[in-house]
Point group: C2
Chain length 192, copies 2
Protein backbone atom coordinates (compact mmCIF):
# COMPACT_ATOMS: atom_id res chain seq x y z
CA UNK A 1 0.00 0.00 0.00
CA UNK A 2 1.18 3.43 -0.99
CA UNK A 3 1.36 5.71 2.05
CA UNK A 4 1.61 8.88 -0.04
CA UNK A 5 -2.14 9.27 -0.45
CA UNK A 6 -2.81 9.39 3.26
CA UNK A 7 0.22 11.59 3.89
CA UNK A 8 -0.92 14.07 1.27
CA UNK A 9 -4.45 13.96 2.63
CA UNK A 10 -3.32 14.79 6.16
CA UNK A 11 -1.02 17.54 4.91
CA UNK A 12 -4.06 19.27 3.44
CA UNK A 13 -5.11 19.90 7.06
CA UNK A 14 -1.79 20.28 8.91
CA UNK A 15 1.85 20.66 7.98
CA UNK A 16 3.82 17.68 9.27
CA UNK A 17 7.05 15.92 8.42
CA UNK A 18 7.20 12.49 6.91
CA UNK A 19 8.64 11.17 10.19
CA UNK A 20 5.80 12.51 12.27
CA UNK A 21 3.42 10.93 9.80
CA UNK A 22 5.14 7.55 9.95
CA UNK A 23 4.78 7.42 13.74
CA UNK A 24 1.06 7.96 13.38
CA UNK A 25 0.78 5.65 10.39
CA UNK A 26 2.27 2.76 12.37
CA UNK A 27 -0.86 2.73 14.52
CA UNK A 28 -2.96 1.73 11.51
CA UNK A 29 -3.65 -1.72 10.22
CA UNK A 30 -5.12 -2.72 6.90
CA UNK A 31 -8.56 -4.32 6.85
CA UNK A 32 -10.16 -5.93 3.80
CA UNK A 33 -13.91 -6.08 3.41
CA UNK A 34 -15.84 -8.20 0.93
CA UNK A 35 -18.79 -6.71 -0.88
CA UNK A 36 -21.71 -6.77 1.55
CA UNK A 37 -19.57 -6.99 4.70
CA UNK A 38 -20.21 -4.62 7.58
CA UNK A 39 -17.45 -2.55 9.14
CA UNK A 40 -19.64 -1.51 12.04
CA UNK A 41 -23.27 -1.96 12.94
CA UNK A 42 -25.95 -0.10 14.89
CA UNK A 43 -26.13 -0.85 18.58
CA UNK A 44 -22.39 -1.26 19.07
CA UNK A 45 -19.42 1.03 19.48
CA UNK A 46 -17.36 0.91 16.28
CA UNK A 47 -13.87 -0.53 16.77
CA UNK A 48 -12.07 1.67 14.28
CA UNK A 49 -11.74 5.02 12.72
CA UNK A 50 -10.78 4.28 9.13
CA UNK A 51 -9.42 5.74 5.95
CA UNK A 52 -10.78 4.31 2.71
CA UNK A 53 -7.94 3.23 0.47
CA UNK A 54 -10.05 1.36 -2.06
CA UNK A 55 -13.72 0.70 -2.49
CA UNK A 56 -17.09 2.22 -1.80
CA UNK A 57 -19.31 2.00 1.27
CA UNK A 58 -22.72 3.12 2.42
CA UNK A 59 -23.60 4.31 5.91
CA UNK A 60 -27.24 3.99 6.88
CA UNK A 61 -29.55 3.81 9.85
CA UNK A 62 -32.94 2.22 10.41
CA UNK A 63 -35.80 4.62 11.06
CA UNK A 64 -38.73 4.05 13.41
CA UNK A 65 -40.73 2.26 10.70
CA UNK A 66 -37.86 -0.12 10.05
CA UNK A 67 -36.75 1.44 6.77
CA UNK A 68 -33.10 1.81 5.81
CA UNK A 69 -32.06 5.44 5.38
CA UNK A 70 -28.72 6.05 3.72
CA UNK A 71 -26.84 8.84 5.40
CA UNK A 72 -23.70 8.88 3.31
CA UNK A 73 -21.56 7.13 0.71
CA UNK A 74 -17.80 6.91 1.07
CA UNK A 75 -15.28 6.41 -1.70
CA UNK A 76 -11.50 6.43 -1.93
CA UNK A 77 -9.70 8.84 0.43
CA UNK A 78 -12.67 9.34 2.73
CA UNK A 79 -12.59 8.83 6.49
CA UNK A 80 -15.27 6.66 7.96
CA UNK A 81 -16.17 6.10 11.58
CA UNK A 82 -18.35 7.34 14.38
CA UNK A 83 -15.86 9.33 16.42
CA UNK A 84 -18.44 10.67 18.83
CA UNK A 85 -19.58 7.14 19.57
CA UNK A 86 -16.01 5.92 20.06
CA UNK A 87 -15.12 8.79 22.37
CA UNK A 88 -18.22 8.51 24.53
CA UNK A 89 -18.47 4.70 24.29
CA UNK A 90 -22.13 5.08 23.40
CA UNK A 91 -23.29 2.72 20.64
CA UNK A 92 -23.78 4.28 17.24
CA UNK A 93 -27.04 3.92 15.33
CA UNK A 94 -25.28 3.75 12.00
CA UNK A 95 -24.35 0.74 9.90
CA UNK A 96 -21.41 0.83 7.52
CA UNK A 97 -21.54 -1.67 4.69
CA UNK A 98 -19.14 -2.30 1.81
CA UNK A 99 -20.78 -1.90 -1.61
CA UNK A 100 -17.64 -3.31 -3.22
CA UNK A 101 -14.59 -5.16 -1.96
CA UNK A 102 -12.81 -2.55 0.16
CA UNK A 103 -9.44 -1.84 1.63
CA UNK A 104 -9.37 0.33 4.75
CA UNK A 105 -6.64 1.70 6.98
CA UNK A 106 -7.90 1.39 10.54
CA UNK A 107 -6.92 2.79 13.90
CA UNK A 108 -8.60 1.65 17.12
CA UNK A 109 -10.50 4.05 19.36
CA UNK A 110 -7.97 3.58 22.15
CA UNK A 111 -5.00 4.26 19.90
CA UNK A 112 -6.74 7.32 18.53
CA UNK A 113 -7.51 8.63 22.02
CA UNK A 114 -3.83 8.33 22.83
CA UNK A 115 -2.74 9.76 19.52
CA UNK A 116 -4.71 12.98 19.98
CA UNK A 117 -2.36 13.81 22.84
CA UNK A 118 0.15 14.54 20.09
CA UNK A 119 -0.46 18.21 19.25
CA UNK A 120 -0.47 17.91 15.47
CA UNK A 121 -2.87 14.97 15.57
CA UNK A 122 -5.25 16.83 17.84
CA UNK A 123 -4.95 19.79 15.55
CA UNK A 124 -5.64 17.63 12.50
CA UNK A 125 -8.60 15.98 14.18
CA UNK A 126 -10.03 19.31 15.23
CA UNK A 127 -9.72 20.88 11.80
CA UNK A 128 -11.10 17.82 10.12
CA UNK A 129 -14.01 17.89 12.50
CA UNK A 130 -14.68 21.56 11.67
CA UNK A 131 -14.74 20.85 8.01
CA UNK A 132 -16.89 17.73 8.41
CA UNK A 133 -19.26 19.86 10.37
CA UNK A 134 -19.49 22.44 7.62
CA UNK A 135 -20.09 19.84 4.95
CA UNK A 136 -22.74 17.95 6.91
CA UNK A 137 -24.48 21.29 7.44
CA UNK A 138 -24.34 22.07 3.76
CA UNK A 139 -25.62 18.65 2.83
CA UNK A 140 -28.42 18.91 5.34
CA UNK A 141 -29.37 22.32 3.97
CA UNK A 142 -29.40 21.12 0.42
CA UNK A 143 -31.67 18.19 1.13
CA UNK A 144 -34.02 20.41 3.08
CA UNK A 145 -34.55 22.84 0.25
CA UNK A 146 -34.12 21.12 -3.09
CA UNK A 147 -36.50 19.31 -5.43
CA UNK A 148 -35.71 15.75 -6.59
CA UNK A 149 -34.47 17.11 -9.90
CA UNK A 150 -32.16 19.63 -8.21
CA UNK A 151 -30.86 16.92 -5.89
CA UNK A 152 -30.09 14.66 -8.81
CA UNK A 153 -28.36 17.39 -10.82
CA UNK A 154 -26.38 18.31 -7.74
CA UNK A 155 -25.08 14.81 -7.16
CA UNK A 156 -24.47 14.38 -10.89
CA UNK A 157 -22.25 17.43 -10.75
CA UNK A 158 -20.58 16.94 -7.36
CA UNK A 159 -20.14 13.18 -7.20
CA UNK A 160 -20.50 11.75 -10.70
CA UNK A 161 -18.39 8.73 -9.78
CA UNK A 162 -21.05 7.65 -7.28
CA UNK A 163 -23.61 7.27 -10.03
CA UNK A 164 -21.32 4.88 -11.86
CA UNK A 165 -20.65 2.52 -8.98
CA UNK A 166 -23.68 2.70 -6.67
CA UNK A 167 -27.02 1.04 -7.55
CA UNK A 168 -29.59 3.63 -8.44
CA UNK A 169 -32.07 2.70 -5.75
CA UNK A 170 -29.40 3.44 -3.14
CA UNK A 171 -28.87 6.86 -4.70
CA UNK A 172 -32.62 7.45 -4.56
CA UNK A 173 -32.70 6.40 -0.92
CA UNK A 174 -29.81 8.74 -0.16
CA UNK A 175 -31.63 11.64 -1.82
CA UNK A 176 -34.78 10.82 0.14
CA UNK A 177 -36.88 9.98 -2.92
CA UNK A 178 -38.37 6.78 -4.39
CA UNK A 179 -36.44 4.80 -6.97
CA UNK A 180 -39.32 5.27 -9.41
CA UNK A 181 -39.09 9.03 -8.98
CA UNK A 182 -35.34 9.02 -9.58
CA UNK A 183 -35.86 6.95 -12.69
CA UNK A 184 -38.35 9.49 -14.03
CA UNK A 185 -36.14 12.43 -13.09
CA UNK A 186 -33.27 10.82 -14.99
CA UNK A 187 -35.39 10.36 -18.07
CA UNK A 188 -36.56 13.97 -17.89
CA UNK A 189 -33.04 15.29 -17.41
CA UNK A 190 -31.66 13.15 -20.25
CA UNK A 191 -34.25 14.59 -22.66
CA UNK A 192 -33.15 18.19 -22.04
Amino acid sequence: MNTDTLYTHICSYVQISRDEFELFFNLFKTVHLKKGDFHYIAGKVPKYWSFTVKGCLREYWIDTEGNEKIFQFYEENAWVGQIQSMVTQKPTDMNLQALEDCELLCITGDDMCNAVKTPWIQNFTMHKSFSDNASIMENSNRIKSASPEELYLEILKERPSLLLRVPQHYIANFLGIRKETLSRVRRRVAHL
Copy 2:
Protein backbone atom coordinates in the same frame (compact mmCIF):
# COMPACT_ATOMS: atom_id res chain seq x y z
CA MET B 1 -22.96 38.47 34.59
CA ASN B 2 -22.71 35.16 36.40
CA THR B 3 -19.73 33.18 35.13
CA ASP B 4 -20.92 29.93 36.69
CA THR B 5 -23.13 28.97 33.79
CA LEU B 6 -20.33 29.05 31.26
CA TYR B 7 -17.91 27.37 33.67
CA THR B 8 -20.35 24.54 34.28
CA HIS B 9 -21.02 24.25 30.59
CA ILE B 10 -17.34 23.89 29.73
CA CYS B 11 -16.81 21.43 32.57
CA SER B 12 -19.36 19.15 30.91
CA TYR B 13 -16.77 18.66 28.18
CA VAL B 14 -13.42 18.92 30.02
CA GLN B 15 -12.27 19.02 33.63
CA ILE B 16 -10.62 22.37 34.36
CA SER B 17 -9.92 24.49 37.39
CA ARG B 18 -11.63 27.77 38.05
CA ASP B 19 -8.34 29.57 37.42
CA GLU B 20 -7.83 27.99 34.02
CA PHE B 21 -11.38 28.97 33.17
CA GLU B 22 -10.87 32.59 34.27
CA LEU B 23 -7.87 32.97 31.95
CA PHE B 24 -10.02 31.85 29.04
CA PHE B 25 -13.01 33.84 30.18
CA ASN B 26 -11.00 37.07 30.16
CA LEU B 27 -10.81 36.82 26.38
CA PHE B 28 -14.58 37.24 26.12
CA LYS B 29 -16.53 40.43 25.93
CA THR B 30 -20.23 40.94 26.37
CA VAL B 31 -22.29 41.99 23.35
CA HIS B 32 -25.92 43.09 23.49
CA LEU B 33 -28.21 42.66 20.52
CA LYS B 34 -31.60 44.28 20.04
CA LYS B 35 -34.45 42.22 18.63
CA GLY B 36 -33.91 42.06 14.88
CA ASP B 37 -30.16 42.84 14.99
CA PHE B 38 -27.72 40.64 13.10
CA HIS B 39 -24.68 39.14 14.78
CA TYR B 40 -23.22 38.02 11.47
CA ILE B 41 -24.38 38.02 7.89
CA ALA B 42 -23.85 35.95 4.77
CA GLY B 43 -20.92 36.96 2.59
CA LYS B 44 -18.64 37.95 5.45
CA VAL B 45 -16.43 36.16 7.93
CA PRO B 46 -18.09 36.33 11.37
CA LYS B 47 -16.07 38.30 13.92
CA TYR B 48 -16.94 36.19 16.94
CA TRP B 49 -17.60 32.80 18.34
CA SER B 50 -20.25 33.38 20.98
CA PHE B 51 -22.02 31.87 23.94
CA THR B 52 -25.66 32.82 24.38
CA VAL B 53 -26.23 34.12 27.88
CA LYS B 54 -29.75 35.45 27.29
CA GLY B 55 -32.11 35.53 24.36
CA CYS B 56 -33.03 33.59 21.28
CA LEU B 57 -31.62 33.75 17.76
CA ARG B 58 -32.24 32.23 14.37
CA GLU B 59 -29.59 31.21 11.88
CA TYR B 60 -30.67 31.06 8.24
CA TRP B 61 -29.39 31.14 4.73
CA ILE B 62 -30.89 32.26 1.42
CA ASP B 63 -31.47 29.53 -1.14
CA THR B 64 -31.07 29.85 -4.91
CA GLU B 65 -34.65 31.11 -5.30
CA GLY B 66 -34.07 33.82 -2.72
CA ASN B 67 -36.04 32.19 0.09
CA GLU B 68 -34.93 32.28 3.70
CA LYS B 69 -34.21 28.81 5.10
CA ILE B 70 -33.81 28.58 8.85
CA PHE B 71 -31.01 26.22 9.79
CA GLN B 72 -31.15 26.47 13.55
CA PHE B 73 -32.51 28.31 16.59
CA TYR B 74 -30.28 29.11 19.54
CA GLU B 75 -31.40 29.75 23.10
CA GLU B 76 -29.63 30.24 26.41
CA ASN B 77 -26.36 28.33 26.88
CA ALA B 78 -25.87 27.59 23.20
CA TRP B 79 -22.74 28.40 21.23
CA VAL B 80 -23.20 30.26 18.00
CA GLY B 81 -20.69 30.98 15.28
CA GLN B 82 -19.28 29.66 12.07
CA ILE B 83 -15.97 28.26 13.24
CA GLN B 84 -15.05 26.75 9.91
CA SER B 85 -15.55 30.13 8.26
CA MET B 86 -13.46 31.89 10.91
CA VAL B 87 -10.64 29.36 10.68
CA THR B 88 -10.45 29.37 6.90
CA GLN B 89 -11.35 33.06 6.49
CA LYS B 90 -13.93 32.09 3.90
CA PRO B 91 -17.19 34.02 4.19
CA THR B 92 -20.09 32.15 5.71
CA ASP B 93 -23.43 31.85 3.95
CA MET B 94 -25.37 32.00 7.19
CA ASN B 95 -27.12 34.93 8.82
CA LEU B 96 -27.60 35.09 12.56
CA GLN B 97 -30.43 37.30 13.76
CA ALA B 98 -31.70 38.04 17.25
CA LEU B 99 -35.37 37.13 17.71
CA GLU B 100 -35.33 38.86 21.11
CA ASP B 101 -32.96 41.23 22.86
CA CYS B 102 -29.88 39.10 23.46
CA GLU B 103 -26.77 39.01 25.57
CA LEU B 104 -23.80 37.12 24.16
CA LEU B 105 -20.30 36.37 25.39
CA CYS B 106 -17.99 36.77 22.42
CA ILE B 107 -14.44 35.81 21.58
CA THR B 108 -12.76 36.95 18.37
CA GLY B 109 -11.49 34.50 15.78
CA ASP B 110 -7.89 35.56 16.40
CA ASP B 111 -8.16 35.15 20.16
CA MET B 112 -9.76 31.76 19.66
CA CYS B 113 -7.02 30.62 17.28
CA ASN B 114 -4.48 31.55 19.93
CA ALA B 115 -6.50 30.03 22.72
CA VAL B 116 -6.65 26.60 21.09
CA LYS B 117 -2.90 26.36 21.64
CA THR B 118 -3.82 25.79 25.29
CA PRO B 119 -4.31 22.01 25.51
CA TRP B 120 -7.55 21.99 27.48
CA ILE B 121 -9.12 24.54 25.15
CA GLN B 122 -8.15 22.55 22.10
CA ASN B 123 -9.51 19.49 23.81
CA PHE B 124 -12.76 21.26 24.67
CA THR B 125 -13.11 22.58 21.13
CA MET B 126 -12.46 19.18 19.65
CA HIS B 127 -14.96 17.40 21.87
CA LYS B 128 -17.54 20.06 21.33
CA SER B 129 -17.02 19.77 17.62
CA PHE B 130 -17.53 15.99 17.81
CA SER B 131 -20.77 16.38 19.65
CA ASP B 132 -21.98 19.16 17.32
CA ASN B 133 -21.24 16.85 14.50
CA ALA B 134 -23.30 14.07 15.97
CA SER B 135 -26.24 16.35 16.65
CA ILE B 136 -26.22 17.96 13.21
CA MET B 137 -26.19 14.47 11.77
CA GLU B 138 -29.11 13.42 13.91
CA ASN B 139 -31.05 16.53 13.01
CA SER B 140 -30.32 16.04 9.33
CA ASN B 141 -31.50 12.44 9.57
CA ARG B 142 -34.68 13.36 11.32
CA ILE B 143 -35.67 15.97 8.77
CA LYS B 144 -34.90 13.59 5.96
CA SER B 145 -37.22 10.90 7.21
CA ALA B 146 -40.08 12.36 9.19
CA SER B 147 -43.54 13.61 8.24
CA PRO B 148 -44.66 17.13 9.21
CA GLU B 149 -46.62 15.72 12.11
CA GLU B 150 -43.64 13.72 13.39
CA LEU B 151 -41.41 16.77 13.04
CA TYR B 152 -43.82 18.88 15.05
CA LEU B 153 -44.23 16.27 17.79
CA GLU B 154 -40.47 15.90 17.92
CA ILE B 155 -39.83 19.59 18.43
CA LEU B 156 -42.73 19.80 20.87
CA LYS B 157 -41.02 17.13 22.93
CA GLU B 158 -37.38 18.13 22.51
CA ARG B 159 -37.56 21.91 22.48
CA PRO B 160 -40.93 23.00 23.91
CA SER B 161 -39.50 26.35 24.95
CA LEU B 162 -38.92 27.24 21.30
CA LEU B 163 -42.62 27.00 20.56
CA LEU B 164 -43.34 29.55 23.25
CA ARG B 165 -40.90 32.21 22.10
CA VAL B 166 -40.48 31.76 18.34
CA PRO B 167 -43.19 32.86 15.86
CA GLN B 168 -44.90 29.84 14.36
CA HIS B 169 -44.03 30.63 10.78
CA TYR B 170 -40.35 30.49 11.70
CA ILE B 171 -40.89 27.07 13.25
CA ALA B 172 -42.61 25.96 10.05
CA ASN B 173 -39.73 27.28 7.99
CA PHE B 174 -37.25 25.46 10.22
CA LEU B 175 -39.17 22.20 9.80
CA GLY B 176 -39.24 22.69 6.05
CA ILE B 177 -43.02 22.98 5.79
CA ARG B 178 -45.51 25.77 5.06
CA LYS B 179 -46.98 27.80 7.89
CA GLU B 180 -50.47 26.71 6.80
CA THR B 181 -49.43 23.08 7.06
CA LEU B 182 -48.02 23.60 10.53
CA SER B 183 -51.22 25.30 11.57
CA ARG B 184 -53.26 22.31 10.37
CA VAL B 185 -50.89 19.83 12.00
CA ARG B 186 -51.26 21.66 15.29
CA ARG B 187 -55.01 21.55 15.11
CA ARG B 188 -54.96 17.84 14.32
CA VAL B 189 -52.53 17.10 17.15
CA ALA B 190 -54.54 19.18 19.62
CA HIS B 191 -57.71 17.20 18.83
CA LEU B 192 -56.09 13.87 19.74
